[in-house]
Symmetry: C2
Subunit: 398 residues, 2 copies
């Protein structure tokens, strides 16, 4: 008996790799500040729980495969009112988190031997979805010195060949927080259009932009409506990661018809969770303002703390709730392990996500880390101080 | 831009194919009895809703990727007490329905060009999961005349070649309701063992056996623990299809480690739904007895009604809540469409799932149907009478 070549090419999540060391550290009495996982501590709107409490049907039945009509309508309304994009009902499929939307997309457009262009560092689970579809990632390289910007026409076009099927982006970016300017979005849309490529844009962090920008979407370019596939999710927008409600959006009717086959095969997405998310789409617009302000303050704390550490390279990111930085250490995986096994300050330590797992190119990102600024300001500041103390102690050892 | 070859090989669900005609029939004022989809009308245990109402955390967080520990423990306890199989925590992964367990399994064990042996007729979504993994189905043929029995060593072994990776079964069967005898289970386990094949057994209908048998599982054969992969689900067991909670079980540690990669990539399964299902695993054992009795009565009604229709070929199935039958009509897809567009009796008609979609072999199953006996006895009887009247009228037309 042998395992598939695709699963053998896949890897474990770099965010979860140090979990056993964390368990041991906690067992030894250490308190750990978690900047390694994008699990916000912001309360889920009570409306979600109320909707679930009020669910009054005696049988918890399958939802329709494309999603419950109320949620599809709520998503369409949000895009119309908040993003300025007009979608029809059939342009929207509800999925089990943004993750399933990504997985369905890869299975619809990628075959064995195909390539997809993705700027690196990128969200590591893209690897699994692309590999499971038999394809591989062609990374657009970036550097911490210019804030991981990737919107460079020449660089991107140089990667296109006969095997290229799509360009995939996260905007605002995870793990970098990099936000595309409108002209950059237009330029990338042009590349996709000129080369006949799908343009898969993961916009789950859309609300989290801190430069006063209007909310924007790649779906607003009508001339690339056939190319564009959006990944969206309720997880971050409403701090409801555990609801596992994502959205797959495209105005390419043939694509959506193919995607529906996978939605039918897995029958439905959880009924109660869809009901909960409908209620959150009814929240007043100032809900987003409040959470944006909160995250902006946290970003500012994290950035200031990074800049105070000698030798760190980090530009101030414009969005999402992640930051990537180059540290003055030899290997951030070794450093993370050491922080859990050998370091503490007043019984406390911290976790980040080591950078290498966010790169497709072997050897890259070894002295980089990603942090998620998802903790309250005081906790975040303490975690960053522990990072600074840790770097000092790590480099002073021996 | 082109779509993947795999999605082009996939098809829509045969259970959902006639949905547009059903919508039109309802709009025209017809009442439709649905025997086409396995959505039971039995109430979901109130404990599930109570557990969700009592969920008291302010943030709806990601669950751990393998599933919440309480649910994993509940599943292990159920296998120990009800099925007599000892499982360790790491033998169990919680999935988004049995569907995701199937999809993960196919991605772990199948590559482009591989083959998997499955008795036909089979659950049509197996097609999508196998195709998405790049592989193809080698069907074991059966006939309605002997109740779709497939446990024939010679027949199965004749299909094994260098590309064969696994044998996949649904036991009790969907769409046939066929239940393997203990000796048949042992024989199939032997084939898997002797030929070094994975044995994927979908046992989501385990509780629904009507011959007084003890609950059984392919997982009880210790000597094929490395070969065996179980698919399980809360959907049918607790009449909670909309919760989308499945289980992937194997004592093959390497397989489970690979499967965990996919679980990590999609982050987690819905938190509230896992919580709801934990509470249902605490139900007293007579819960299963009551629902088994109810389904047995329904099976007896459906079988009796089938036998009263001249020309129908159907054996009495031993389990699940499906029955497959050969009808005296030319084409059951055409007949289904006609039942929705041209037939009614006192303003009523009925739906089944046409047989062809359950076969891999082209042309097979055209005069067969699957029914799901998921309605109350009176409704079921009426639906079967409508089927009888429909056959008569359909064959008498022109």
């Amino acid at each position: 008996m042998k395992f598939s070549s695709k699963v053998q090419r896949c890897d474990y999540s770099p965010m979860r790799k140090f979990h056993p060391f964390a368990v041991a550290a906690r067992a030894a009495g250490k308190k750990i500040y978690h900047l390694n996982i994008g699990q916000p501590d912001i309360a889920t709107p009570p409306a979600a729980f109320a909707a679930v409490r009020d669910f009054a049907l005696p049988v918890l039945e399958y939802a329709p495969s494309p999603g419950i009509p109320e949620l599809i309508a709520a998503v369409a309304k949000y895009y119309r009112n908040n993003v300025g994009v007009a979608l029809q009902e059939e342009d929207i499929l509800i999925t089990a988190g943004g993750s399933e939307a990504l997985s369905i997309t890869c299975n619809c457009i990628l075959d064995d031997g195909d390539e997809i262009i993705i700027p690196e560092p990128f969200y590591p689970n893209y690897n699994t979805f692309v590999q499971a579809a038999g394809a591989s990632i062609r990374p657009v390289d970036t550097t911490p010195h210019d804030g991981y910007r990737y919107a460079d026409r020449e660089k991107i076009e140089a990667l296109i060949n006969d095997h290229t099927r799509a360009i995939m982006l996260t905007n605002p970016g995870n793990p970098t927080g990099t936000v595309l300017a409108p002209a950059e979005m237009r330029m990338i849309a042009d590349i996709a259009k000129e080369h006949g490529l799908f343009l898969v844009v993961d916009e789950v962090y859309r609300e989290f932009v801190y430069g006063g920008e209007e909310l924007s979407s790649m779906a607003s370019f009508d001339d690339v409506a056939e190319n564009t596939i959006l990944i969206d999710s309720a997880s971050k927008r409403f701090s409801a990661c555990g609801a596992r409600i994502g959205v797959l959006i495209s105005r390419n009717k043939a694509f959506m018809q193919h995607a529906l086959k996978f939605c039918q095969a897995r029958l439905a997405v959880a009924t109660l969770d869809q009901t909960a998310v409908v209620s959150m789409y009814d929240l007043p617009a100032d809900y987003f303002l409040a959470s944006r302000e909160e995250y902006k303050r946290r970003r500012d704390v994290a950035y200031r703390k990074f800049k105070e550490i000698p030798g760190v390279v980090c530009e101030c990111p414009g969005g999402a709730f992640y930051m990537m930085a180059k540290l003055p250490v030899d290997d951030t995986e070794r450093f993370q392990e050491w922080l859990l096994t050998d370091f503490e300050d007043k019984g406390e330590t911290m976790m980040f996500a080591p950078g290498a797992g966010f790169y497709a190119t072997p050897g890259k990102g070894r002295d980089e880390i990603r942090i998620a600024y998802v903790l309250k300001e005081a906790d975040l500041a303490r975690a960053m101080d522990l990072l600074a103390l840790g770097i000092q102690a790590y480099n002073a050892r021996r």
